[in-house]
């Protein structure tokens, strides 16, 4: 645990103070008592040791006294003296017997003393080298001669006193007692006054025996005795191995006088060393007692002292700890809290924990926490403001309005996107950015969604200050107050011009041919799929046209691809103009194009005709010359077509169209070929009919038939001219079989002109005769003919050419013609009225005719369609319609004629209703002029 410096300092001061007032006196007391006790123990130990040493010295003395006694006894044995004297006498050599017998006898004597404990051996040496030996070995051949001689020398000058030589090697080298305490004594001739040395008595005393005794002396643990001889050699030491060795001179020099005691560091240990001298020998008995052993009793005192001290310290520690936990630490925590608050290092949720302390300090903690609370609230609102400000200046354009949509604020990004500065927009409505690309409904839906869900998101086109419209991704969020009322709207907008452009680009690449900008195969197939599905639902046919340019490869090879590409572009343009809205022109690649037609007729043959018509239009268009740069080029296409015809497979359709295209190429190019043979037949037949029709006028194959019109008195009032085609091979062809074709091909115009002209010629004929000069002649005018700009002048020309009374010529227009551009029709009709011709409205009731228009039209007659007339007797609806038409005509002051009258009943009803003119089989079928004139008569 790491504490700030302040705390550490305080801890030291506080702890030191407490230590000084409590521990220090205790400590001083302990030290004083310890020291005095120690001194007493040491003094006591010295006294004890000296006593012990004195005892051991006495023991050793006793042993030596015994040896001394032994030596004295042996020295005074006469027999030994004699033997020595005899064996030492060089003049009188000894016999083997004497020698051996003497040895044996001395042996008997000596062994009587050998029972003395600790005795190793007793030897007698004569001056001439004989040896008598009793002891631990028999082998006396191996004698240390130098030692022996030295000992003899010593004894020669010592009179007959026993000399303690100290610890030495055994003179008998064979002995297993290698170190022995040696005592020697001179054996002198008995009775001789002067010292007449015969030999030497040598007594070896066992150091092992001494060891056995002294090692048993207990001085305390690790304490031991030593005994040294005059040469400071160890007679006794607990370690047998060092016996015989001299002690260090540094130690031996300390041993002076009879006794002493001192403390020393011996062999690395603090010891109390005491010694006592064995009188007159300079031998010392030494005791070595480690201080540890001596002071062992002190341990308890030390232990108690230290225990008290530790107890004291623990108490202090507990007190200090309690102080820190209860007082200092809480205060520190609060101070830390302030510091960290100042340094802004606190988590917002951080609160000071309740402290285990006094109530006063906890109050402080609570107040600190509530302070933090307050600061936190302040800081949080600041933070959210700052966040809002930062967030507001994002890369997205942002604008904030009030609840009424008045702009309050915009950001920098907004200015960059729209070009408007904040000054320019604040106070305005965001409507100022409108691009005009979206209608009112769009904005309505948008705001409805915002009101409903509080949010709208989507793409929208707006307009920059510089006028440029641009797409943006817009998010509108309603900001509501706590009551749920909208206070503001926040809009974020992102300029997606770039991304939209690239998206378009991608889409184009994916679905459009980059050269011609036409849909590519993929888009074609997609649309084909949809078209097939749509056709399946509606039943309306569709078609596929495969278009291949003939000899395109040659163009590419001769003029190059750039020119080829120019051709393809122009072909694409022309194709696009040839088709209807909703049809598809696609480029598959190379010079292959496909046109897909939809919403054709439900009837398959009719659909084929529609397809053919468009195909022909394409053929015509593509056959026109192309300006390719400086080249004028002609090009023909080959077209293969096929109808959906309930085929469900796109692939199959494409294949069929492709096959048809190749058939077209095989058949000589520059033509349209259907995949289905039946269809091809239909087309072929029609083509022939068209060709025949073109020739029919020149070949005078048309003929007019006349059907009589009568009044209520059954008197002929006129006729309707009806065209008939006398085909050289087919015979009479009904108008229904060629009129639509004529209308489609435009031949109707020339046919119409022929009919008008022929009718005028017939009127002229009739005018010359009194019986027929009042007859009126009705001529059908097709819509196409009517819309010819030259129509009125043509009519006028015919009237003038034939010099007829125009009042007798009645032009019948169909009601369906009135649907488009009614004003222009009225104008043309007025011009016709100007000429003087009558105008009749044919097939009245089948179309949609507004009474308003009818009133405006300058017509003279209504012609009730035969379909109403047919069921007039039976169908009450038809009755009502016919009645109404007649009443209406009367109210408009128009004549009414009913056609298709076939029975008297029908005629009677019409007469009863007020109709005055009739036409129908009841009065006569359409017949050639000769027959008609005959019936008049």
């Amino acid at each position: 645990m790491k504490f700030p410096a302040f705390k550490f300092d305080f801890a030291v001061k506080l702890t030191s103070f407490i230590l000084v007032i409590s521990v220090l006196p205790l400590l001083l007391f302990e030290v004083a008592s310890y020291s005095s006790t120690r001194l007493a123990i040491m003094q006591d130990a010295v006294k004890n040791n000296m006593q012990l040493l004195s005892n051991q010295r006495d023991y050793l003395n006793l042993q030596m006294e015994q040896i001394n006694g032994l030596a004295t006894n042996l020295g005074s044995i006469e027999e030994i003296n004699q033997v020595l004297a005899k064996s030492g006498d060089k003049r009188q050599p000894q016999s083997t017997y004497d020698l051996l017998a003497t040895k044996a006898r001395i042996g008997y004597v000596l062994s009587g003393y050998s029972s003395l404990r600790g005795l190793v051996s007793i030897d007698l040496f004569t001056l001439n080298g004989s040896q008598f030996h009793v002891g631990d070995t028999l082998d006396v051949a191996n004698v240390r001669a130098d030692l022996r001689d030295e000992l003899i020398k010593i004894t020669s000058s010592s009179n007959s006193a026993l000399v303690w030589y100290g610890v030495e090697d055994n003179v008998n080298a064979s002995s297993s007692n290698r170190k022995v305490v040696v005592a020697v004594k001179s054996i002198n001739r008995i009775g001789s006054e002067q010292s007449d040395q015969l030999g030497m008595l040598l007594i070896n005393f066992s150091t092992d025996y001494l060891h056995e005794h002294f090692s048993k002396i207990d001085l305390g643990s690790d304490a031991y005795l030593m005994i040294t001889d005059a040469k400071s050699r160890l007679i006794f030491h607990p370690n047998k191995a060092v016996i015989g060795q001299a002690i260090e001179s540094s130690l031996s020099s300390l041993l002076n006088g009879k006794s002493g005691s001192f403390q020393i560091r011996l062999d690395g240990r603090d010891v109390l060393l005491s010694y006592i001298e064995i009188p007159a020998k300079q031998w010392y008995v030494i005791s070595v007692v480690p201080k540890d052993t001596l002071l062992a009793p002190m341990e308890n005192i030390e232990k108690v002292g230290i225990a008290i001290l530790i107890f004291n310290l623990v108490l202090i520690a507990l007190f200090v700890r309690a102080y820190f936990r209860q007082v200092a630490s809480p205060i520190r925590a609060i101070s830390d809290g302030f510091r960290r608050f100042q340094a802004n290092q606190l988590d917002e949720k951080w609160r000071l924990a309740k402290q285990n302390t006094m109530a006063e300090i906890n109050d402080l903690v609570n107040w600190f926490n509530s302070f933090l609370e307050t600061m936190e609230v302040n800081r949080r609102s600041e933070t959210s403001l700052r966040i809002a400000a930062t967030a507001f200046e994002s890369q997205e354009g942002m604008l904030v309005t009030d609840a009424d949509g008045v702009i309050l604020r915009v950001n920098q990004a907004f200015t960059q996107i729209t070009g408007y500065t904040s000054d320019e927009v604040i106070g305005n409505n965001p409507r100022m950015l409108k691009s005009g690309r979206h209608d009112a409904n769009f904005y309505k839906a948008m705001w409805e969604k915002v009101d409903l869900t509080g949010e709208w998101e989507g793409e929208i086109w707006n307009r920059r200050k510089n006028g440029e419209a641009f797409p943006e991704h817009l998010t509108i969020t309603a900001v509501k107050n706590s009551n749920g009322f909208v206070t503001n709207y926040v809009a974020t907008l992102m300029d997606i011009t770039a991304s939209k452009a690239s998206a378009d680009q991608i889409k184009n690449l994916a679905f459009f041919d980059p050269l011609t900008k036409l849909p590519n195969r993929r888009l074609l197939l997609d649309r084909l799929q949809q078209a097939l599905a749509s056709s399946g639902r509606s039943g309306k046919e569709g078609a596929i046209l495969f278009i291949d340019l003939d000899n395109f490869k040659t163009l590419n090879d001769t003029l190059g691809h750039d020119v080829g590409d120019m051709l393809l572009e122009q072909v694409a343009e022309r194709l696009t103009t040839c088709v209807r809205q909703g049809d598809t022109v696609a480029r598959l690649g190379g010079d292959e194009f496909v046109v897909m037609l939809e919403d054709l007729s439900v009837e398959i043959l009719e659909a084929a005709e529609q397809t053919e018509a468009i195909g022909n239009k394409i053929l015509t268009s593509l056959n026109l010359g192309y300006q390719l740069g400086s080249h004028l080029y002609h090009c023909t296409p080959s077209i293969g077509a096929t109808l959906f015809n309930k085929c469900k497979s796109m692939e199959e359709l494409m294949k069929q169209a492709d096959i048809a295209m190749y058939q077209s190429k095989k058949a000589g190019r520059n033509m349209l070929q259907f995949f289905d043979p039946e269809m091809q037949d239909v087309i072929n037949t029609r083509a022939r009919l068209e060709a025949d029709l073109r020739k029919a006028i020149g070949n005078r194959q048309f003929q007019l038939y006349y059907q009589v019109q009568v009044d209520s008195f059954h008197q002929p009032s006129g006729a309707e001219a009806l065209i008939r085609w006398m085909h050289p091979e087919r015979g009479l062809v009904a108008p229904a079989d060629f009129i639509p074709l004529a209308e489609e091909t435009g031949l109707i115009v020339s046919i119409g002109e022929w009919v008008l002209d022929t009718a005028c010629a017939q009127l002229k004929t009739w005018q010359k005769n009194e019986s027929t000069n009042r007859l009126e002649l009705s001529v059908n005018v097709s819509a196409k003919q009517f819309h010819q700009p030259s129509f009125v002048s043509n009519v006028n020309a015919s009237v003038k050419t034939h010099g007829i009374n125009p009042m007798l010529l009645k032009l019948e227009l169909t009601e369906s013609m009135l649907l488009h551009d009614i004003e222009k029709i009225i104008a043309v009709m007025n011009e016709l009225k100007g000429i003087g011709v009558q105008v009749s409205l044919d097939d009245f009731g089948t179309g949609y005719s507004s009474l308003q228009y009818l009133k405006k039209l300058p017509i003279d007659q209504l012609k009730i369609d035969q379909s109403f007339v047919r069921d007039i007797a039976t169908d009450s609806n038809d009755k009502a319609i016919v009645t109404t038409i007649i009443l209406m005509a009367h109210s408009l002051n128009l004549d009414v004629i009913a056609e298709g009258v076939e029975t008297d009943g029908q005629k009677q009803f019409l007469i009863d209703t007020g109709c005055s003119q009739f036409q129908g089989y009841l009065f006569g079928k359409p017949v050639p002029i000769e027959k008609f004139e005959a019936t008049l008569n």
Binding site: E30, Y108, S111, D139, Q263, I264
Partner: protein, 328 residues
Amino acid sequence: MDLNIARIIAIICFPLLMAGCGEQVQSVSSVANKPDVEKANQAPSIRVALIMKTLTNPFFIEMEKGARQAQHETGIDLEVLTASQETSIEQQIQLVENQIERKVNAIVIAPGDSQRLVPVLKKAQDSGIKVVNIDNRLDRNVLASYGVKSFPFISVDNEQAAYMSAKYVADRINESTEVAIFEGIRSADNANQRKQGAERAFKENTKLKVVATESANWKIDEAYITAKRVFDNHPKIGLVFCANDMMAIGVIKYLQETGRKKVLVASFDALDEAKDAIRHGQLASTIDQQAAQQGYIGVMTALKLLRGETVPETVMVEAKLITANDLK
């Protein structure tokens, strides 16, 4: 916080420690050359005690030499112990007792008596001490009665050797001659064997008549005194067999003192002193029973027992007849 308190304790305790260390003392060591620790702490070596009969017979000195040879070769701890006299059987028993107390590993013993030593040796064996018998054989019957099968025994064939020595002198006698036999300690088996060997040789020569069979207990001085008594009783004795050289030397001393130069003496042990006597014509024959060899083999056998090896029940050392011919 703990750290601080530790530091403070240290500061407080410092004077206390200083008080304890206040006295400056000299520092010395006790012994200059500390013994080699390894040597000092060597595993306790094998301790073998060689217990012999007396320190006054050179024969046993030879025996010790052989034993010491074995000691040097093997590094064992060898203790050589003797009684003071051949007859000090009680002393010898005491020596065995001491060794039991000392817990030696093995005892090699040349028993002074073939019967009296058995109980104490049995006791030694029971306390785990290996016992090897040399020189003088313990009595088998007594051993058996104490439940001891036998101790390995190393010696010479005393009967045969004595026969050889006695035969050598017997063969030189052509006329009727009185014979005296000086025995060893009668309760010793080897003494008995030697006597029998000598008797066998003397019986083979019909001219010989054993007139005296006395024991001088192996001792030189006792033999000298006994010879005086024997020759006083039988002045015509012309041939003497002594069971050991020491007794022979005692007898020869008497013969020389009394001028009986023609008396033939045969003996046993081949001591150097005996060989000298042969050279001087004082002694006719002796037997070298290779005491050193016995001592050596005795110790080695003890070691083998300690190692758990099987040893032969009896090892007979070759006994050699020594005459003047052998010493030329």
